[in-house]
Symmetry: C2
Subunit: 365 residues, 2 copies
């Protein structure tokens, strides 16, 4: 890839442009807000000169616009003969593809794309050339997508340092509804229940509810847009969830009424079954490098709150030649100690426990 | 406090006994399983000799039995004249207190207690004397609880290094339903939906759903017991949640049908409002030292996967004299880089960004 045009220089578009520019690709930048394009150019993302001045179609056009504008933007770009291949970077895939087909556009030159970057800021100033490094980037080729267009998109993903994952558009939309959009609403609605919690209830909140509701802090406007574009698939997941929830509420009511009679027994069985299915589903989620979290050994360590405590702990782990794959910190109100759980390769855990204990750390094993 | 008896030497009872023994309290240990009591004694938690041999009531009896057994155990202990004050450590408070009153026990000598320790193991071997350090410990005195009994319980909390929080029993049960029990089920049901997710969907799962479903890995048997004991209050929270969920599903269906018409407009407004309430509720949850997470400055740093990378990062933060209040690690499938977000005091963030950048770290600010 030698030339590209990025249409839409928000966070994602500018980040793509930065990554491509770093690899020597000549990137033309366009935005309906010329200031945004100029800002992106000033960051080194490319030039604001017209791609038409280049005299021939560029290698790839990246449509970095909201889902509702993808098909129209693709039509305008194809009318201008901007590029030899087109892709987009929005978070839903079936709708834009269907609209492009309905508009009679040349879909052989288009392939849907979705980098899962998980950044919570927006605008060109938040952009980073390494935004996609190591992240999954879904590509959704259609039946008629040309091989060279597919390969160009794979090159884009590679230049951005991301990991390509090929999916069908509808399958993608169902997948992100399940692993991203529905969990966001599940979290937001739980958090919303805490809005009017008593002072005392908020005070005794621990790491569990903190984790469950972390993503509820996301930007409402941005999430409204994402959820609207995938509304049907998200509603499907949430309806199944609501069915499970109604069953659990029924079990709880039965248990509240008569915990030890036959209806209580049935409710108990039902409840344990739901919780077990939760175990099974949780184990499906990959940790770092695609390994499920359950595959790690855990080493819980008590730490003080002085600057440098975590540094000392990690230096000790490093001296033990153990790689920390993940960690969790538990907090407590008004106290100067905490519990850090280190996740390491299972075979490394016993040695790390021994070495940390030897160096005077309190390890809860 | 000079003498105590711990009835029930599971995880919590043995941990309490260890903490008291460390402070020189003579602790008598009893369990319906004599092996468990002997195991606890062998860990240094106390002695298995009979408290009656002591010749006079001990200062405090700690009933470390499941919620359903608290009142009966209290009755037996009072019949034996075991102690001058009684408390328990189970996760619900209204039921046991009501049962004790119904049994005609001396409730002036009893005060409910609930240490929020958040440990996921069980049994005496998992016990730690520092299990409660810095954690909240709810006490639920009744109208007729004697002042000396209340103060004895406060001394227990203090000796365990925990932070006392005084609440009404029913208020406590509603609070833990809201901040612990309902979030557990909300998380478990979301995780259960992932049980049959496609391989690709699981692969693109990110930090969001990972956080939302982390606690779904909890022990089903243990959680069944907790949820059963507080079934009514949990059902109340989940019913309100289900109402919110139904409204959101309605909005999503309206948006799927007609995103731009008047019904779509109303649905959009409704959805944004729900997401905003999620923001507000999330902000209620305290971070470390009781400060909401939103009060921290965030410093996102790109790190490699070699052993010692986190150690280097924390050493750099330590050299900059900045205390890390919390952190989050984002993973990516099949890649050797990750993003670590450091949470620090807001005023410390700009300096840390500058110092880390100077030392060659890639900071996404």
């Amino acid at each position: 890839m030698k030339t590209a045009v990025v249409l839409g220089t928000g966070l994602i578009g500018t980040s793509v442009a930065l990554a491509l520019s770093r690899h020597g690709v000549h990137v033309f930048l366009e935005d309906r807000d010329p200031d945004a394009a100029r800002t992106a150019a000033s960051l080194g993302a490319g030039t604001v000169s017209s791609p038409e001045d280049f005299g021939q179609p560029v290698d790839l056009a990246v449509l970095a616009v909201p889902p509702a504008h993808v098909a129209r933007t693709l039509g305008q770009a194809q009318e201008r003969g901007l590029a030899r291949a087109y892709t987009d970077v929005c978070s839903v895939k079936a709708g834009p593809a269907a609209e492009a087909a309905a508009l009679g556009l040349d879909t052989t030159m288009y392939i849907g794309g979705h980098p899962l970057s998980g950044r919570e800021k927006s605008g060109p100033l938040a952009a980073r050339g390494d935004l996609f490094e190591g992240r999954p980037w879904v590509l959704t080729p259609a039946q008629d997508t040309r091989r060279d267009v597919f390969n160009r998109a794979l090159e884009l993903v590679s230049l951005c340092g991301a990991v390509p994952v090929v999916m069908d558009p509808a399958e993608h939309d169902r997948a992100v509804a399940l692993i991203s959009h529905a969990p966001h609403l599940v979290s937001a609605l739980m958090a919303a229940r805490l809005e009017h919690a008593s002072e005392e209830a908020a005070r005794i909140a621990g790491q569990g509810v903190r984790d469950v509701t972390r993503i509820a802090a996301g930007d409402p406007g941005l999430w409204r847009e994402i959820l609207t574009a995938n509304a049907g698939a998200v509603a499907d997941v949430l309806e199944e969830y609501a069915g499970d929830l109604a069953a659990v509420i029924g079990s709880l009511r039965a248990l509240a009424k008569d915990p030890v009679g036959p209806s209580g027994d049935a409710a108990n069985t039902e409840l344990v079954d739901r919780l077990r299915r939760g175990n099974a589903g949780q184990a499906r989620i990959p940790g770092k490098h695609g390994a499920p979290h359950a595959a790690y050994g855990t080493v819980p360590v008590v730490i003080g709150d002085a600057p440098g405590e975590l540094a000392r702990l990690f230096a000790a782990a490093s001296a033990a030649k153990v790689n920390i794959e993940d960690l969790a910190i538990e907090h407590s109100p008004g106290q100067q100690v905490g519990l850090v759980t280190l996740f390491v390769a299972p075979e490394a855990a016993p040695g790390l426990v021994a070495q940390l204990s030897e160096r005077g750390w309190t390890v809860q094993s």
